[in-house]
């Protein structure tokens, strides 16, 4: 008997924190409409709660975008503090209309509408997690387990099972994992397998698969390059000053 976890059939309330991965690093999109308390709770839950360990690893550039929300100085300090408290997060951008968000939406106009489903825990053998949007797994996807998404798939853990992003044909969808050792990955209708070297614990924060004109490519998040770019003068953000010392990959 197959355990189907079709989360689409019971739509979750939109999670106040969406995480996106790009080649440059992580982008956190904070919901602009929900109550501030809910936002803060979800954020601390994600980054300092049980799942916090999964964000450990080499340094990664982080952009935080809170949209049109009007934050009081105290609220801004509290939210930003959650990110700054993480040693390996180099906050590169902080603001309401960050370049990261623009880059994301410029690339994929549909991304704005894309809902995100966050699954906490292991996706086990025989389980099939499907969502009509992005899927974030805060945990491992074990061999024999499967994650399918209309949008992107992010695994903050080990991807060892099957991941199928862009299941309705979105060729711009990506599959990212802290430890990238899938049995099989599929983006839209293109099938790929794990790279030869897969399975070793991250020399980069995340690896991810995306489609190019020539087929599927697997790349590392380029945190080092980003650190060099990110000067203290970054628009309205605190820049990477202080946090970027000691890059040690």
């Amino acid at each position: 008997m197959a355990v189907k976890m079709i989360v689409q059939s019971k739509p979750e309330p939109k999670h106040p924190v969406a995480v996106k991965g790009t080649r440059e690093g992580l982008v956190f999109l904070l919901d602009e409409h929900c109550a501030y308390e809910d936002l803060y709770r979800c954020l601390t839950d994600l980054l300092t709660g049980e799942s916090a360990g999964l964000f450990n690893g080499p340094q990664v550039a982080v952009s935080v975008d809170y949209g049109d929300r009007a934050l009081t100085p105290e609220q801004a300090r509290a939210l930003l503090g959650v990110f700054l408290a993480r040693e390996n997060f180099v906050v590169r951008e902080w603001g309401g209309h960050t370049a990261a968000r623009k880059a994301l939406y410029g690339q994929r106009p549909s991304a704005r509408a894309q809902n995100q489903f966050i699954h906490k825990g292991t996706v086990r053998a025989g389980q099939d997690l499907y969502f009509d949007g992005d899927v974030v797994v805060v945990g491992d996807v074990n061999p024999g387990g499967q994650v399918s998404a209309a949008g992107d798939i992010y695994v903050f853990g080990r991807l060892r099972g099957i991941a199928h992003a862009g299941i309705h044909g979105d060729e711009r969808a990506i599959i990212a994992a802290a430890e990238f050792a899938p049995t099989q990955v599929r983006i839209a209708s293109v099938v790929g397998w794990a790279p030869e070297s897969a399975g070793e614990r991250m020399s980069t924060f995340m690896e991810f698969a995306y489609l190019t004109a020539d087929g599927m490519a697997v790349d590392k998040m380029q945190y080092a390059a980003v650190l060099r770019q990110a000067g203290p003068g970054t628009a309205d953000g605190p820049g990477s000053a202080g946090a970027s010392a000691g890059e040690g990959g």
Binding site: V3, T122, R124, A125, G126, P143, G144, G145, R160
Partner: protein, 265 residues
């Protein structure tokens, strides 16, 4: 009111029956009232491992069908009278049991025993659902092999989706030499994949097989390391914190094991 624990695995032949018999006997040795329930219809062997085969008159299917009372089917162990076995039937059809009937029996048994261990058949079909129905807790047995771990993972998913939210893990038939040579998964890898609490690790030992054939659970054997591992598991079930045994002199393994336990207790 006692606690009912189902012992399950997904894959066959990994040591469910051996573990049921030995954990049960170990708890009986510690003075607990224990009943072992065999739900593996058609492949009865818990009674053989317990050495009670020749005393069966009625079995669990007879109880389910009203042929006899529950009390009549219980076989008291010849060593301790606070240890009993409810045997399975070798001849009757697998579909003879249904989850509700077995749940009723388990509830009844919990009134007179501190622990009821339910030996589950392999697989995840009807027999699995029957065995799991009356349980309050679950123990998943795996060997350190890929196929067995995969099936355990599957079963854990099913348990977590049911009322048994935090199953515990036993890794059986560990052979330190093979682990060292990389021919077997090590404890760390198994625990990492399955991501549940580790209850114990049982070494692979020829005497286990010999004792099973003799019908004398290995826990009675003072020199066996497998026996010691099972006695430790019994104490952990009672809430004692007993560190994992050193299965091998190699320091690497031990320190990893310690770290693992330390992180989870």
């Amino acid at each position: 009111m006692g606690t009912a624990v189902v012992i399950t695995s997904g894959k066959g032949g990994v040591g469910k029956t051996t573990s049921t018999a030995n954990i049960g006997t170990a708890l009986a040795l510690l003075g607990k009232r224990v009943c072992l329930v065999d739900t593996d219809i058609g492949l009865r062997n818990l009674d053989v491992v317990m050495g009670l085969e020749n005393r069966i008159i009625y079995d669990i299917v007879d109880v389910a069908s009203g042929e006899c009372r529950l009390e009549q089917a219980l076989i008291r162990d010849k060593r301790f009278d606070h240890l009993a076995v409810l045997p399975a039937s070798q001849t009757k059809d697998k579909s003879a049991l249904d989850p509700d009937r077995v749940r009723d029996m388990v509830v009844q048994l919990k009134q007179q025993f501190d622990f009821v261990f339910i030996d589950c058949p392999a697989g995840i079909e009807h027999g699995f659902r029957v065995a799991v129905a009356g349980a309050d807790e679950a123990i998943v047995v795996t060997t350190p092999e890929t196929a067995s771990v995969r099936d355990a993972d599957r079963v854990i998913g099913l348990l977590e989706a049911s009322h048994l939210k935090s199953p515990k893990l036993i890794i059986n038939r560990i052979r330190p030499k093979m682990v060292k040579q990389g021919d077997m998964l090590d404890i760390d890898e198994v625990v990492q994949v399955l991501a549940i609490d580790l209850l114990g690790v049982i070494p692979d030992e020829e005497t286990v097989i010999k004792n099973n054939i003799k019908g004398e659970p290995i826990v009675m054997n003072p020199d066996s390391r497998a026996a010691m591992a099972y006695r430790h598991i019994a104490r952990r079930i009672l809430g004692d914190s007993v560190p994992l045994m050193v299965l091998d002199e190699e320091p690497g393994l031990w320190s990893r094991v310690k770290r693992l336990i330390g992180g989870r207790r």
